[in-house]
Subunit: 452 residues, 2 copies
């Protein structure tokens, strides 16, 4: 008789994240062929079913892996390189020169591998990434075993790997075609239009057509700053959301990233069109952009997920800090401590994030038939003691470092905080070596620019 | 010849936190008789001086231990017990009944020991605590080896251990007298007037006189909510800060906790009087209280430190999250990404916190002659790679879990994340056992109250 389960985990506190479900204790999760076969409560006196691997998860909290709906993985190279600057200084003095003159496909790949290590250690099992040379990111995330929606960046000016903007859609199409037949079902390849202020209307509509024809999500930065809104109004007579709507870009497959500066009517518009929102509170705070109207979006029925954004503006790829910040920021912004309660913040980072990416049939809850993507946290620590409400602990007390085990698609990516798919020591040494001269390189560029 | 040093730590990246000092690398710290004997850079080819203990700190970041300027340690019992409620519901349905009917001196002590474990694991080496049965907190923190300013709570209504408010100042005075001769110099015993709305003017002035006569800091919650300001105006015709000033309570030994709702003239008033401010951004956000005018306070020359507040409103005793939140919150509140840069946020959590508590001659910077209170963080992790600016990493990327070693007064309290002064396993089991029935107990109280 074949062994029915590949893994049987028990004695845990289990949160399925199915709407309204109560915590399961003592809870078990059974995994077979990369999927969740069963989940429920199992009294310890019952015999365990046959399984290839057993995990006694006493003292562990088990929940769906976190879904990061917005990331630029290779930007880990720029972590802490340039903080506390105005957006203009940050972009023109550091980020644009570093991207244009220093990044190579090899460095994009190495950065994405570093990011993958960080994502796994933070309990993120699905990541939506958008960048240039995205085929290198795809390769790195696939090697790491992560689930990902990878999106080739599209802008109407020269970009890494796309010196002539006329090629931007061709490069994106080729990237999407090359990723269309990924056998494991772990990777979705699409495109990411940077924003309405860096892409012209022809590019925006043609890009949306490419994704629409393939049934893929379409990502775009939207209404991140007040300056962007003013510029869009001056150019088009419309706010960014209304402008995209006029171009026919707003539908259920569009993911609006940031969505900070929305008028009440625009919140209704996004709800009407079924647009999804990726909320990046840490990035929005650190860059001084503003506070997205998340309580209003949720009240209007918009699907909202959380995103870390890149490590140049977060500075770490850690949704625990975004759950905590979202829950706290909207309370103080509205002067109402009942806004965005803990269980809702956890849902945004898991179930709702999966819906933002169109992956709700595969991940986001611990439901039989869905992929075995889950994480285990060690509850036996001072800052998680005592325990009355696991949702409260996840949002207000836990840290990414409390994640001890990570499984994606039935494969362990981390056990006891040890990375199993990435050679961390060698990777770290390679990154340190490559990064050593980056500040001097940028200084030289700045000096040359001043001379000219 | 006697061994000159008790500890010689080298090969580290060292931040002394002295104003304007650059990072030292490869840095060393030499400790003798509980104090910092020397700190500087040491080329690895030089022979090490004689020492009882050597620590090769390659890959570690060394800085002064963090100073938590506001805590209610025993409230760890209520962590996650009641979140996302209005302040009124939170206080009347949960916190007051739990404090009044469930807390005992034994539970205060056990809670404070749990809090001590958490503080040490988060790299906090000095804590200012205010609560009731504070002699139990003092005992627990002393056993743990922490440096502390412990303050007996004073309110004009019945409190744990002080059923008749007429005794509140006598109890506080006895607490202060019993702690006056602490031999190690680790503990300062003072009092903490809860607030201008829970203490009458006679209590406030008499309490301040008690601390003034002894040259001790005087703590008070001030202008935490808009409701408090309105109530104070209605009762006294004055805002809380002006009311305390009229009572003669504002001077260089007064620590105003929260200080959220201050008018510009009150910022100037605090600066003029030399009042110190304890900024608790996480608590202020989670309770929806408001955003303190920290950039204005700093511009006016007010000394500001960071506080976690109690675990019922944070929910963890972790200043790394407060550094990060302070830096991000004030940026988005002012829509200016240059506000509260990383190095300043680290200073608030160390050097400036020490000044708030009047302990700047002993701790807050790594300076020869000061106490050997420092922490070591493990930099060799994905989220701290690459490294360009250690201040940026401390604020925007590091987590409390990155702290591996903690020393206070020349004594190791934690090595390789193992607590050396607290029996964590037994402590955790005792806390879990005691906490088990707390929710049911509070439910019963609520049912009884409804019947009456």
């Amino acid at each position: 008789m074949p062994c029915p389960y590949d893994l049987y985990l028990d004695n845990a506190l289990v949160l399925t994240l199915e709407p309204g479900a109560r915590p399961l204790f003592p809870g078990f999760v059974a995994v077979a062929q990369g999927r969740i076969a069963q989940v429920g409560e199992a009294p310890p006196e019952l015999p365990r079913p046959a399984a290839r691997e057993y995990l006694d998860a006493a003292g562990l909290l088990v929940l769906p892996g976190l879904v990061n709906t917005h990331c630029h993985a290779p930007m880990v190279w720029f972590r802490g390189l340039a903080d506390d600057l105005s957006l203009k200084d940050w972009l023109t003095r550091l980020i644009f020169p570093a991207e244009g003159r220093w990044l190579t496909p090899q460095r994009v790949c190495l950065g994405a591998r570093l990011a993958a290590a960080e994502l796994i250690r933070a309990g993120i099992t699905t990541v939506a990434d958008g960048y240039f040379h995205e085929e290198e990111v795809r390769r790195a995330l696939a090697e790491a075993g992560l689930r990902a929606v990878v999106a080739q960046g599209v802008v109407d000016f020269p970009a890494p790997g796309v010196p002539d903007p006329k090629d931007n859609l061709r490069v994106a199409r080729e990237f999407m075609d090359a990723g269309a037949d990924e056998p494991e079902g772990l990777l979705t390849s699409t495109l990411f239009c940077h924003s309405p202020y860096t892409c012209g209307p022809e590019t925006l509509t043609a890009a949306k057509d490419l994704t629409r024809a393939r049934g893929l999500p379409f990502f775009i930065h939207l209404a991140e700053t007040q300056g962007e809104v003013a510029e869009c109004r001056a150019k088009t007579g419309l706010t960014p959301a209304r402008y995209l709507d006029r171009l026919g870009l707003l539908d259920e497959a569009t993911v609006a990233v940031h969505a900070v500066w929305l008028e009440p009517e625009e919140v209704e518009l996004l709800a009407l069109r079924g647009v999804k929102v990726s909320h990046c509170p840490t990035s929005n705070c650190k860059l001084g952009s503003g506070v997205a109207p998340v309580p209003d979006l949720l009240a209007a029925g918009v699907t909202v997920g959380l995103g870390t954004d890149g490590a140049a503006s977060h500075n770490r790829l850690d949704l625990f800090s975004d759950m905590a910040l979202a829950a706290r920021l909207h309370k103080v912004h509205r002067r109402d401590p009942t806004v965005l309660p803990a269980a809702q913040a956890v849902a945004l980072a898991t179930r709702e994030g999966a819906r933002v990416l169109g992956l709700e049939h595969r991940v986001g809850t611990l439901t039989p038939g869905k992929a075995a993507d889950f994480i285990c946290l060690n509850l036996r620590q001072p800052h998680l003691t005592p325990l009355f409400d696991p949702f409260s602990h996840l949002v207000y007390a836990a840290r990414a470092a409390d994640v001890v085990h990570v499984m994606v698609n039935g494969r362990w990516l981390m056990k006891d905080r040890r990375l199993l798919t990435l050679p961390w020591e060698g990777l770290a040494a390679a990154v340190r070596e490559e990064a050593r001269d980056l500040p001097a390189f940028l200084n030289r560029l700045e000096q040359e620019a001043k001379k000219e």
